[in-house]
Amino acid sequence: MEWTPIWLSLKLAACTTLILFLIGIPLAYWLSRRHSLAKVVIEAMLTMPLVLPPSVLGFYLLLTFSPNSLLGSWLHTHFNISLVFSFEGLVVASVIYSLPFMVSPVKSALAHLPVSLAEASYTMGKSKLETFYSIQLPNIKSSLWTATVLTFAHTLGEFGVVLMIGGKLDGVTKVASIAIYDAVDNNQYHEANLYSLVLFAITFVIVILVFIFNRNSARGPLE
């Protein structure tokens, strides 16, 4: 068994989770505040990856990023970037695919915090940003853990989108889930089993860690 696909999967999950942590939390904060029709439409679009077959999403991403498309050719001409069949393309696709896993739990937790917490902070002279970092974020810690782990684990097990946008280039886009499929396709069940066991073990350890970190939370770690 080669370890490169496992390493690639972990790298992809780490990059995706980090990017989503940075963009998903401000997005969740924005969505958790006053409702408007525009926000409903945006939230519906962000939730689409949850219900859309991964192959459909992967197909449209492939069309969007292909060198023949407007965006693909613009990226290639101006930045010499090709997102199709590249690791960078996998990261972009994973960020889109896993976005709801980061945004939904954080948005829900922020929306359930009593409004008076932020109001009390404002009356004490604290800005919205200070209030967000000192009051709101620390009080949704368990949801932040949940969102981070769900995003990481979901990206780790990604298959359809990854296959469509990245193919199965050795050492570049052939992540563990593709390696399992490839091994089964070539009747190498022993190798497929080894990859599966490693993925199972990694995911299990992550979930256990979340339960340990959130053991004092009133809610269950995955609520």
């Binding site: 009593p114 109001e119 009356t123 009080n139």
Partner: protein, 208 residues
């Protein structure tokens, strides 16, 4: 002197109504605010604190304009220095008693004095989840006082305190309020609850 003239539309389960308040609060005075449930007491207090903006209105504090909807003046809550004790206390679950006060002020002497007044010295490292209802309410009052507020708003802030504790807190609070020259408005449904504390009353009712 705090002068407030407010007009705010309110939606209730009975339909639309309006909150109209025209009131003056002498500097350093303590006013008991009362009215039926849903009459708009909390809305009025939040307007004073800058947390809600009315359709029309003016608020002047010691000659300084905090709000004038006509002139489009509206100070943010951060600029008004209003100590607000919320009905649900709004304590921060992630902070200890000491951290709550330190969030409001850097004056260590004031923090120690407030802890003494509220009989909270031995609970300084406790988080709200490990405090009784009465202790939580005291902490909310102390946190509001830590701001040295121009205006102190107490939204049913004595309801969880027993008689002895309330009387002792009232005596200490009156001293510190006088020292800070803070004007106070307290919402209470029970006249007895604010006996010996509030010297004026103001009734609030919605107009349909």
């Amino acid at each position: 002197m705090i002068e407030a003239s407010i007009y705010k539309k309110i939606k209730t389960y009975k339909g639309n109504s309006q909150l109209i308040v025209d009131a003056q609060f002498p500097a350093g005075s303590i006013t008991r605010l009362y009215g039926s449930s849903g009459s708009g007491k909390t809305t009025f207090l939040k307007i004073l604190a800058g947390l809600i903006t009315p359709e029309k209105g003016e608020i002047h504090v010691k000659g300084v304009c905090w709000l004038d909807t006509h002139k489009k003046i509206n100070w943010k809550p951060q600029q008004r220095r209003v100590g607000f004790v919320f009905q649900d206390y709004a304590l921060f679950p992630n902070m200890t008693v000491q951290a709550h006060l330190a969030y409001a002020t850097t004056d260590q002497q004031l923090i120690e004095r407030l802890l003494l007044i509220g009989k909270m010295e031995s609970f300084r490292q406790h988080k709200p989840a490990h405090l009784s209802g009465g202790q939580q309410q005291r902490l909310a009052i102390l946190r509001a006082m830590a701001l040295r507020p121009e205006l102190l708003i107490l939204d049913e802030a004595f309801s969880a305190l027993d008689d002895d504790l309330r009387e002792a807190l009232i005596i200490e609070l009156k001293i510190i309020l006088k020292e800070f020259r803070t004007t106070t408005i307290i919402v209470s449904h029970h006249l007895q609850e604010t006996a010996g504390f509030a010297e004026r009353t103001l009734q609030i009712e919605q107009e349909h």
